[in-house]
């Protein structure tokens, strides 16, 4: 049976929320960015976009393009609040909602005709409800799968409603540039262009074998997409693939000592989030963005999954030595933990965890009490979590991070 999938995307979301809260900004170029001097643009109103301002662009560039723009800092908790309101509306129409991000979601409305009419009508009703109840504008794409629905919503922006009727998928896709396909970035686009492939229609006419020869498994995937084939279901509970945290600093970090402190703080936050989600991970990834925006990542995989901040911190320290951080000034540090396994993967009764022979390798021949007994470490971490529940995130912090001083401000 043909499915009815909606992709719903809030227009210029952060900027729209700001305008909602301060109506006097309506009609002005509003730019939301981490910090005017060093941050990155997280949203731009359509008025600002006319000047060429785009998301993910350095705020300094945006300032140059649009000096009269109203620059506002991020207020994530407010955006989350607005997003929750909108998602609650979505869920009145169908329980099958897959959030992609704070402002994007897939909905599966297959078989809802008796309730809301056609998929197109359902999309229209959702748009109206969101506008009426929250004042926000959402663009919708309606199609028989996720991939097409997402392309469709993008084409109609702002305030769009684009429907790809069943049976017309090919006609819809063919004239579009290949860059619209998921997984086609600048590099692939360039390679395709050298093969004379510019539109999705061009790509569709290339024999599958040739795509596989040129691009491997990725080529096969692109070939399927060019035919509008995408069988992935709308997943209501997307499992997180990784949990991480990163920080962009207002001033470049140059000194390893400061970086170590920042890593400790990041590790602490990541471990807390791991524990809150009840998961542990085996791969620790360090992300370093140098002052010139060059981004490197370094990762290591542990023998056992962990949710312990100290373990994550030691990995991050090791990884830091594999970067040029220090000699090259650093503007962003991030830590993430992936290869997640649920803490409940093993039954609580009879769960087993390896005890270490030494403390920190090579430094301390006596086993550190916590390293010696993972049970103790677990109890310690749980106690820390409880203290933070009661007294807030700074109710207890690692000894090396006693004050509130942020090296980047």
């Amino acid at each position: 049976m043909s499915r009815a999938i909606l992709h719903l995307d809030l227009d210029a979301f952060y900027a729209s929320v700001e305008i909602l809260d301060r109506p006097e900004l309506r009609g002005k170029p509003v730019i939301v960015a981490g910090s005017e001097r060093r941050g990155v643009v997280t949203a731009a109103s359509y008025e600002a976009r006319k000047f060429g301002v785009r998301s993910a662009m350095p705020a300094a560039t945006a300032k140059r393009l649009c000096p009269q723009g109203v620059f506002l800092p991020n207020r994530f908790s407010r955006y989350k609040e607005a997003s929750d309101e909108v998602f609650a509306i979505y869920r009145r129409f169908t329980p099958i909602v897959e959030p992609l991000s704070i402002d994007e979601a897939f909905l599966d409305v297959t078989g809802c005709e008796r309730l809301f009419g056609s998929a197109e009508e359902a999309a229209r009703k959702i748009k109206e409800a969101v506008r009426r109840e929250t004042g926000l504008i959402v663009s919708a794409g309606v199609a028989s799968n996720k991939f097409l629905a997402k392309i469709a919503s993008d084409l109609g922006k702002p305030d769009g409603l684009v429907v790809v009727p069943p049976g017309e998928e090919q006609a819809f896709l063919d004239p579009l540039p290949v860059g619209k396909l998921w997984g086609v970035g600048k590099v692939t686009e360039g390679a395709l262009s050298r093969m004379g492939i510019r539109t999705i229609g061009d790509l569709r006419r290339v024999p599958r074998d040739r795509m596989v020869r040129s691009f491997g498994a990725h080529g096969e995937h692109l070939h399927a997409l060019s035919r509008g084939i995408d069988d992935r279901p709308v997943e209501t509970q997307r499992e997180a693939k990784s949990i991480g945290h990163e920080e962009t600093y207002d001033r470049d970090l140059r000194d390893r000592g400061t970086m170590r402190r920042e890593l400790l703080s990041l590790s602490d936050r990541v471990s807390e989030r791991l524990r809150r989600h009840g998961v542990k991970g085996r791969t620790v990834t360090l992300k370093v963005k140098y002052h010139d925006f060059v981004l490197v990542t370094r990762a290591i995989t542990l023998a056992y999954p962990t949710d312990d901040g100290g373990t994550i911190y030691r990995c991050a320290l090791d990884l830091l030595t594999e970067t040029e951080a220090g000699p090259r000034p650093v503007r962003l540090l991030g830590i993430s933990v992936s290869k997640l396994t649920g803490a409940e993967e093993l039954p609580p009764e009879g769960r087993m965890e390896q005890i270490a022979l030494f403390g920190r390798p090579g430094t301390d021949p006596k086993p550190a009490p916590a390293a010696q007994d993972p049970g103790k470490k677990e109890r310690l971490n749980r106690a820390v979590d409880r203290i933070r529940e009661k007294f807030g995130p700074r109710g207890i912090v690692p000894g090396a991070l006693p004050d509130d001083e942020d090296p980047g401000t």
Partner: protein, 374 residues
Amino acid sequence: MNFSVDRDQLVDVLTGIQGVAERRHTMPVLSHALMTVSGETLTVVSSDLEIVIRCLQPVTAGEPGSIALPARKLLDIAKVLPKETPVKLTVKEGNYVEISSGRSHFRLAGLPAQEFPEMPEKPAGKPVSIDGDLFRRLAEAVVSFASSDETRYNLAGVLMERTEPKEGAFLRMVATDGHRLAMAEGEAGDIGDLFASRKVLVPKKGVQEIRKLAESGPGSIELSASDKFLFAAKGDTEVWVRLLDADFPDYRQVIPRENPLKATVNRDAFAEVLRRVGVMAPDKVHSVKLSFSGQQLEISSTSPDQGEAQDLLEAEYDGPAMKIGFNGRYLQDAVSGISEEKVVLQMKDEVSQVILRPEKDTAYLAIVMPMRIF
């Protein structure tokens, strides 16, 4: 350059260096073997910058010279050539080599010899001679205990040192991955101060290469060391291994002096039960439970959503009933280092180091940390 060589000898020499020829293409020349002819000798070298192997092979030489050839492809070719037929290699212009044997002809692209990394120097000083079988035995007993975890560089090798608790000099090898440790030693005759004046921490792969050299036939291997390399030679083959520049932890501190609870089990029965129960142990952690009670040891495993396994074996044990969790693989590795009929487990409690050793011989012991049972 050109020379003729016996096909089987060519296969042998290329097989010997294969383990070191780099498959990944970080530096293309490292996937190549450097072939040099001078006089009546062919020298074949392969290197991954950490380990260098050099083999000499008598040939019927035509013209001296050298070239780097893709090690894997050259071996593939040598293997399919007719047996017991001489193979002739001739270097042609543009770093090509022609390989012919009987009516078969191959043309293989190589790289200029100059691209191959320079050879490390042989350590100065008189090499010492160590029984090849001793080296192999010690290495085999401990090498699987070294860490494969890339974050633990200082545990990624085998520590070699000289001990002299008894008369004669003993060679001791120790390896640990931070969860378990193995130590094996044996009388090594006159090893001078080879392992006394410096710390010799040999990476896992290097130990394997020297072990292969040691077991390539009877007789002893010659060892010498500089601050950077351990050098081993036997017959026509030489191996350089770059030492790990890291601090091995003070392993003596984690060897318990007194572990009062002693259980003695039959080695083969223990190994078999571990293997059997291990089938149902969870994939990544291989956790198994050992329950000691009276003269019985029950070993069991549980895989969530899959099922369970248990088995029993006899044990000489007179301590209190006790249940300890382990990574079953660690126990299997420890047992495989023991050749005596009986294995002794010495324990203190459920969370402290457990010693596994042969009943009589004191030259081997393994320490395994338990897994905490929640």
